[in-house]
């Protein structure tokens, strides 16, 4: 069993050091306390109803010892936790800034070169990154377990955290501050690329992972996008209404819009809903869907439509 996610940032190893030391000291005291407790409870079991017991009310020396020693240990643990925390809160001068916006229930990332991604954060190995973060609506919290970083995201104020990714790979991003119905669906991924791969990504257009994506049949790609770009946080595929209309049976569905006019969910309607969601809002639904303009490419939108068509 993996005790803890592999340490994938420069800070992770230091945080793990703090965790380890506290674990060892806790284990020591836990074993000591339990052993003495059980030993006394067994050794001094009542053997005769009328057995005598000594009238012991206390011992000042013991009191002092078991006050002073834990106090010293606790102060040391406080200092250790503080020292590592200080580093976690002090981004280096050469870190690059990436802006994070958390909103119910997805993450958008805006990069220093104008790129924008949804739910997937692309960073370069060994280059420090400062995340500048804001929420659009309620509290969220940006949490990357493998990097050992976490920071609440607030509306109306920027918060920040920083890290230097040390391992190439893909790691989980979780929302760690309860934010409503889609809280547990607000999942992201941080993709750590080598400098060469990062270069390629930076110069690429859109957000597909290139070759891998090009080889997928449209409906399958659409399903992948449905899961990874946050659609599943609000749209079910089983007919139930989560926040938005269910995708099941969506293609070809007719109905009424807010404002009274009617709609048919054909290819154009679906594309419009993705790019300008408030323009033709279905009656009875809240105007909360974010726009995916600049986030999903035309090819990706086509794939999503193909996927929706399979959901009869």
């Amino acid at each position: 069993m993996t005790w803890i996610p592999e340490a994938a940032s420069n800070l992770a190893g230091k945080v793990d050091g703090v965790l380890l030391v506290i674990t060892l000291i806790s284990l020591f005291f836990f074993v000591l306390i339990s052993a003495v407790l059980i030993y006394f409870a067994v050794k001094y079991r009542r053997r005769r109803e009328d057995e005598e017991t000594p009238y012991i009310t206390g011992n000042e020396t013991l009191e002092i010892i078991w006050t002073v020693i834990p106090s010293i240990l606790l102060i040391l643990l406080f200092v250790y936790g503080f020292v590592v925390y200080k580093e976690m809160r002090t981004p280096p001068a050469d870190s690059v800034d990436i802006t994070v916006t958390g909103k119910q229930w997805l993450w958008t990332f805006d990069y220093y070169n104008g790129k924008k991604t949804l739910n997937e954060l692309y960073v370069q190995q060994n280059r420090p990154v400062r995340m500048i973060m804001r929420a659009d609506d309620v509290l969220h919290s940006f949490f990357i377990p493998a990097f050992r970083v976490k920071q609440d995201i607030l509306p109306g104020r920027y918060t920040q955290l920083w890290f230097t990714p040390t391992k190439i790979g893909t790691f989980d991003i979780f929302c760690a501050e309860y934010c409503g119905t889609g809280h547990s669906a607000m999942l992201g991924k941080v993709v750590v690329l080598s400098p060469e791969a990062y270069d390629i990504w930076e110069k690429g257009i859109g957000v597909d992972d290139g070759a891998a994506v090009a080889s997928l049949p449209p409906a399958e790609l659409g399903e992948k996008i449905y899961k990874e770009k946050g659609c599943n946080a609000c749209h079910s595929i089983d007919g139930s209404v989560v926040i938005g209309p269910s995708f099941k049976g969506l293609y070809g569905r007719t109905g009424v819009l807010e404002g009274g006019s009617s709609y048919t969910a054909d290819e154009n309607y679906i594309m419009k809903s993705i790019l300008e969601p408030q323009e033709e809002l279905v009656e009875g639904f809240q105007p909360v869907m974010p726009s995916f303009k600049g986030i999903l490419s035309e090819g990706e939108i086509t794939a999503v439509i193909a996927y929706i068509k399979t959901l009869k």
Binding site: L19, S26, A41, G58, W66, L74, L139, F143, F174
Partner: protein, 537 residues
Amino acid sequence: MANHTIATNVYVPFLEKKGFLSWFLTTDHKRIGILYLVSISLFFLIAGIIALLMRFELMTPAADFVSPHTYNVLFTLHGSLMVFFFIVPGLAASFGNFLIPLMIGAPDVAFPKLNLGSYWIYIAGTIIVLFALLQPADTGWTFYTPYSATTDTDVILITFGVFVLGFSSILTGLNFIVTIHKMRAPGMTWHRLPLFIWASYATAILQLLATPVVGITLLLLIAERSLGVGFFDPAKGGDPVLFQNFFWFYSHPAVYIMIIPAMGVISEIIPVFSRKPIFGYKAIAYSSLGIAFISFLVWAHHMFTSGISEVAATIFSFLTFLVAIPTAIKVFNWIATLYKGSIELHSAMLYALGFIFLFTIGGLTGVFLGALAADIHLHDTYFVVAHMHYVMIGGTVMGFFGAIHFWYPKWFGKMFNESVAKLSWFLVFVGFNVTFFPQFFLGIQGMPRRYATYPEEFQSLMALSTYGSWLLGLGVLIMTVNLLKGLFSGEKAPQNPYGSLSLEWQVPSPPPHENFEEIPHVTDWTYGYGKKKEVDA
């Protein structure tokens, strides 16, 4: 002239008088304690069943038993009912009411009618919350803004219910402080008081001083929702984090309201079943006051990642480590009490020893959370869920069950089946650990809390936790049936089956309405076990 024996009062147990009004309009602290005991136990069972439902959903990663929204409602209800309707009133309202006058040698509390009023205020709070269930809130028991200010569910009624309930806590605290100051029997000096009284006193101070803050906070939230004032809305110049500061200013002392009485119970049970004086009486007594004082200074350790400044976080972390010290002192003193004792592992003693074991785990895992660098990783994960349940169940509930098993003969005049009690203890103890220990690991692995659905890699530990919850539920069920059965068909209880020296055991089981035929004259502390009687020359 014939010698007459003056007829003494015929002993009428306080439970004797029948009829609804004799219960619902009683001013007898012993009956009010029962009213609270029944009410809080009912909420404990309801909120416990909700927890079983939650754990059943969490057996699998997908939301296949309930929808995510329903899950969110469930954990909101579970937390709100457990915190506000069970554990905060908890031992203070039930056992505090029953024991304080008896232990100090008084006929009742200082303000018996206020005491009755406090109970009905509690009931009023529960009725208001009942109406809130029509559109139950999905905010979590912590009601963080902005979500709680904007969610479509009914937040106003549930927070108003809690607001009303708060007055029960405040007035009970007031009543107990005055009672302990003014109604101690002659000779019952402060340093002869049982440690449960010291604990109740410290708790009462917290109830009185901290509860008004959450009352005001919830009113502000209601104003935010209904009038759109903007205290917590940045668009109107407010700050969502302000809510957290207000909320935790109460809710941190509140956790000590939850645990300090339970610690008082442990300090009573261990000397009786070891037949030894409590070791370090003054250390334990003053540590309760110390914990209460420091508890007002640590609230923002719930907020290290909330956007507070690094300086503030550092100060709060330091103060949090301080509060661990008086707590550790108690644990060492309780264990030292066992040394060279004559120990009987009665079910009450098993709960007390179980408390020490489990609360130690809860307390040590609190150290992880108080350390800044570690907390960043662990905050809002299952590690916190495990920690809080170790201190609340492993701590307070063990103390609560221990208190029930210890004072049951005194309060109800009956005995329960001791073998079944030991069995149910064992199931509760094992079931609790299987439920919550895996959650520490889930948290370290990064599993966030309040997740209705979760990544597959967490499933095996989540399923294990669910199996544990079934064992725990079974243990609580058997314990409850055993205790109820004793009420109806148990043996009549003797006056002092365990040889306690405390005043409540020197009156019949159950006590008469006025507690003492004659107010006792106290000449020694309650922990004189093993003291050699002075031999007169």
